[in-house]
Each structure stands twice: as C-alpha cells, then as structure tokens.
Symmetry: C2
Amino acid sequence: MKIVVLGGDGYCGWATALYLSAKGHNVAILDNYIRRQWDHELSAQTLTPIQPLSDRLRTWCRLTGKTIDMFIGDVTDYDFLVSSLKSFEPEAIVHFAEQRSAPYSMIDRKHAVFTQVNNVVGTLNVLFAMREALPDCHLVKLGTMGEYGTPNIDIEEGYITIEHNGRKDILPFPKQPGSFYHLSKVHDSHNMMFTCKIWGLRATDLNQGVVYGTMTDEVAMDEALINRFDYDDVFGTVLNRFCVQAAIGQPLTVYGKGGQTRGFLDIRDTVRCIEIAVSNPAAPGEFRVFNQFTEQFSVYDLAMMVYRVGTAEGMKIEVQHLPNPRVEKEEHYYNAKNTLLRDLGLEPHCLSESLLDSLMHFAIRYKDRVDRSQIMPTVTWK
Amino acid sequence: MKIVVLGGDGYCGWATALYLSAKGHNVAILDNYIRRQWDHELSAQTLTPIQPLSDRLRTWCRLTGKTIDMFIGDVTDYDFLVSSLKSFEPEAIVHFAEQRSAPYSMIDRKHAVFTQVNNVVGTLNVLFAMREALPDCHLVKLGTMGEYGTPNIDIEEGYITIEHNGRKDILPFPKQPGSFYHLSKVHDSHNMMFTCKIWGLRATDLNQGVVYGTMTDEVAMDEALINRFDYDDVFGTVLNRFCVQAAIGQPLTVYGKGGQTRGFLDIRDTVRCIEIAVSNPAAPGEFRVFNQFTEQFSVYDLAMMVYRVGTAEGMKIEVQHLPNPRVEKEEHYYNAKNTLLRDLGLEPHCLSESLLDSLMHFAIRYKDRVDRSQIMPTVTWK
C-alpha cells in the first residue's frame, strides 16, 4: 500500500515509517524538521544521537534495498501539501505532524496560540487536500488519550451511548483536555468528525496513550537509524525521564502524589497499531476512534517499577515528590477501554518485560549524553 | 459597571452596547470594522442604512448625554487588546468579536481556516489578557446553540449527568457542530473551560439561538442609530430572509423539507440576556453555560408564520422548497433546555407578537434597498 507519514522525522513517525517500509509498503515521509528546531529553541537534545533524515534514509536503503520518498515542507502550507499528496497518491495518510508536547503549549501565550493554530490548520489542510485530491484515501490521525481527561466514569472509545429522560443516542464521548496541546487534539477530532460526515471522508482517530521506549526491530538495525529518546521536561515523557534519572543516579521526580493514572504503550505497539489501522480502513463517511494504549499505570506505579528493576540491577534509586507543575487530579478513577485494536490483532508488549531492555539499558548506554539541567520541570500550568 | 463590548459595531454587539449604556453602565466598544469589510467582500449590504460607528456614537451622546469609548483594532492583535483592556479596566467583557456566519466559513478552505483561526486566537487572546491584566473580570462570551447539533436526547445547558456502568459524573454535553463556524465555537468553549479551571477565570458561555429582528428601544431613538438587518444568503438569518422575501413578493425559500428545528430569540431578548449574565457573574473558576433562546421553531413553522401574518396583511405569499445546501437532518428530535436565564429574570418576547412590528414592517419600509441577487443560497456544504 502507498502510505505517507506526515511528521515522519519525529519520534513515533520515524519508527512508523521504517516499520511500514519493512512490511513491504511503499512509504513516503513528509516533514519540515520543526521537531529538531524545537530542540534548538529549548537547548535540549534527544538522549540518542539521531542522524539527519537524508542520512537515515540512505542507511535504510543500503540495508534493505527499500527507498522512502521525502517531501520537505509544512502541512500548514496548503499548496505544498496538496502538490506532495497529488504527486505521491497515497492510499493512507498517517498524520503525526503536530506539536505534541503539553508543557510546550503551556510555556506562554505565543506557544499556546502556535500549538493550536499549527495543529488545527495542519489538520484542516489535510482534510481539504483529501477532499480535493484523494477523496477515497484513509486518514489515520494521532489523537491522545488526554482528550478525555479523567472523568469519574469508564472511558469508551470515542463514543458513548447516553440514556437521558427516556431517550437514547450514541454521542461523542465528552472531552476534558488538560493543556492547550490536548485541546488542539480535541479541536482536530471535532473537525475530522464533521468532514467525514459532510464529505464522506474516511478517518481513524487514534487516541494514543503515553509512549515509552525507543527500540523497534528496524531502528535496531544500525546506529544511523536510531530513534529519538526525549527525557527533557518539555518533550520527555515520564517513563523515559525516570529511566534516565535512574541511570544518572538522580532521584525519580514524581509530580505531586503520583496518583495520576494514564494509559501507556510501547513504541513497538504504536507502530503495530498504525499498521492495523491502515490495513483495516474506516468506511467512507466513517469517523472511527480507537483508544491506543495497552496498560494503565499511575505515575507512582511507574516510579516503583523503575525502583524495583533498578535496585535488582544494583542501582541506588530514590523517589522524590515535587510540587505538581500541572493542574490535574492526583487521585481519581480511571478505567479506559482499549479493545478495538486488540480485536483487530494487536498483541501488546508488557512494560514489565520491556523495562530493562528497551528503556533502562538504553538510558545507561547513553547516560554520558544526559544534560542534567533539562530534567526538572520549568513550565507551570498556573 | 464598566463593560467592554468586543465586536460592538456588529449586529448583536451594537444593540447590546446601547442597551447597557442606556441602563447606566459605563460602556466601551472594541471593534475592527471587519463585519463591514465582509459586506464589501460579498458585495452585500444590510437592508438598513447603518451609519459609521463614530456617527452612531455622536448621535447617541447627543440624544442621551452618554459617551461610549471606542477602541479600534483586532482582538487577534494581543498587544492592542491587552493595552485597550488595561486602559479601560472593565469589570465585564462581552465578547461578540468573531466571524459568526456558517455559510461564510463553508465558502472554501481559506474561509474555513480564517474563521477558526480568527475565532480561536481571538478568544485565546481574551483569556490570556484576562489572566495578565484582569484576573477578576467576568467574560461573557457568545457561543451558539449550534454547538450541540441535533442529538436524539434533550439538550441540557452545557453539562449533562451521565450514569455509565454503575458510576456517575457531570460532564460537558457532547458537541456535534454543523459547520466550520460552529466548530470554532466548540473549540472556544473547550479553551474557556480549561482556563477557568487552571487560572480561576470567571466565564459565561451563552449558547445563543438564531436571533431575529432589529428593533430595540435604543436603536429606535434615531435613524442614525439603526442596526444591521442581514437578509443575504451568507450572513442573513432565516427569519429575516423570509420577511424580506415576503416584502418583495419573492417565494419564501425553505431549505429541504424545513423540519430543521432550532432555538430562536428576539434581539430585545439578546440584549437583556447579556445584561442578566453581566449582573450575575460566574464565580471565580466557574465556566457557566446558559442556553440563550426563548422559543423553538422548525424552518417550515417559520415560513408558515410569515405566510399567515403576510396574508392577513394582504400580501400574496408563496413557499418554495429548495434543495438543502447544508448537510443536516431535516427531520429530527429537538428539545433544548433554557431555564437558567429565565430563573435569573428573563421575560421573553414571543415571535407571534413581534413578527409584524419588529420584522415585517421593517422589511417593507426598506424593501427598495433589497438586492434580489443576494438571497438565493450560493454556498454548499458538500
């Protein structure tokens, strides 16, 4: 299948592009390198020494004989986007090309406005380009479990049946996002639902949990293919950060009580979920929502897992509670459904089995590259 | 009370600014005249001969002795917005300053993107300006009943109690907006809810129905104070259009079957609802939602009311069904709650009593200004 990965130079995008290419799909990457630009803006770096995209793709071709096309530009530039899509003619568009950090969106007004305009306009452009040039193409769009917030009821996959005053309807699940970034994904979801309805587009919204790990079979083939591993306070995710802290002997920093519970998944499951969504397209006019995570943990659960694994390896690990820089519940009910992707064939990796190999050993291997000044939270929600 | 009306040169904004000034409030208008610019873009004109804002305000001062300050600029220009607000120091901000036409947002990609960026960034700027300069100010923001769409259950005022799998929560009412414009209001609502939660701002979201009429006590005082009356296919609302069609002997154009049911209100109730919201501010941190309409009608109901009133006046009226340019249900359940504003003192005007005086006689009086080429729908949703 011909598949374009928007944002294919980023963390999930790069792993996905290689995985789909390895599976025999004809893959193109569309990216504007802005993720690398944000590293410069924040004076931060991925733990891992990633290579320029052109070098990555040359290595991939040398090792596998497979070529991946590059389209360098911005999805908010409609003329560039639509001409790229017309030239490649994808059957599926995998859309990772958004600003994806909650803290980045909370830095100040300009970053909030940038995040919402960038993400909303980019996705609107993708939808209009599909209508103009590729009306039968399937959009696989990355949303986030954070769209739902932490309601006091079970979280369903996108829709909920509501009975009210003796009547019943299936309605979009209510959204309570917790940052300007998460809000941008809610805006996207509403825009996509509407265009599926009025134009008959096909779309799958993948409400993804927090991704951890960096190893996939493909990026493991050569050092030049190595993926990002973000541990800084703005783009780093919690489990990556804990492993880096363990590796350098810094206390694991739990925000507040640590009772914040979320859905998590291994990046090897991210790429498999994308393949499943692409291989089982939504019907024309269908706006389909999958919850894309495999296990639920609280932040404190994660700290304890890292503590146990690290201690067993002979490391000396402390856990430190910091005042929470975010505004969020630290003790709450959380039970989110995630059966749709499993029903289509997902076989999850478990964190308990991946923690050492895919995370801790990686953090230890590159610990000399850690910038200790990048770890403590600097962005607050208040 | 010191109140700034953002978008105070527009249809609802102008009537509101005068009404609040007449009630003794210290009122300022902030506007960038873009509504007049859209008339030029579309080669359309209001039925009524409106005067420049400075002339309007001079007349108002001459008649009443009351001055209304003017701040001319764009809410998407943060520096202008925050400096204006710091200078005036309002206790309440009434925010009408958005692109408010569904068909305008559906013209093409550029108009869709403009509508969402303009509305979302303008409201984000208002929220950030409140945090920076006026943390105790009360935001009264115009939303739309169109945020809810047409669910098969009763529509509550902003929130709904959901029982699910034996648990219960009060959650935001699910949204199913029907145009890029209506979507922009949903985006705004989510952004406002979030900032009330994290920054403790006070906000009231007024989900307004379709407004009809142009006469209020204040604009009736002098021809120079006359308000807009839009009947064109892009900015005109359905009842205004029907009255103009009756006045010029053109068939009333019902889109599709005409079973589309919506909430409606007289502009005299709009201004009163704003006063009620301003006088009863939301608590710090509260994101309050009122459904602001007084009666429900289907489009066909309205055509029949105009038919009966016009026929009784000796007019010859036909009703014509056009293919629906929108994608919407033409037969559906619709029962929306609207008790919160009544509980605070709203005494609604009934359409059956206003139709002749506030609408039909007005359309007849200015019928020589009607541009017949502006009435038939030109923008389609497909």
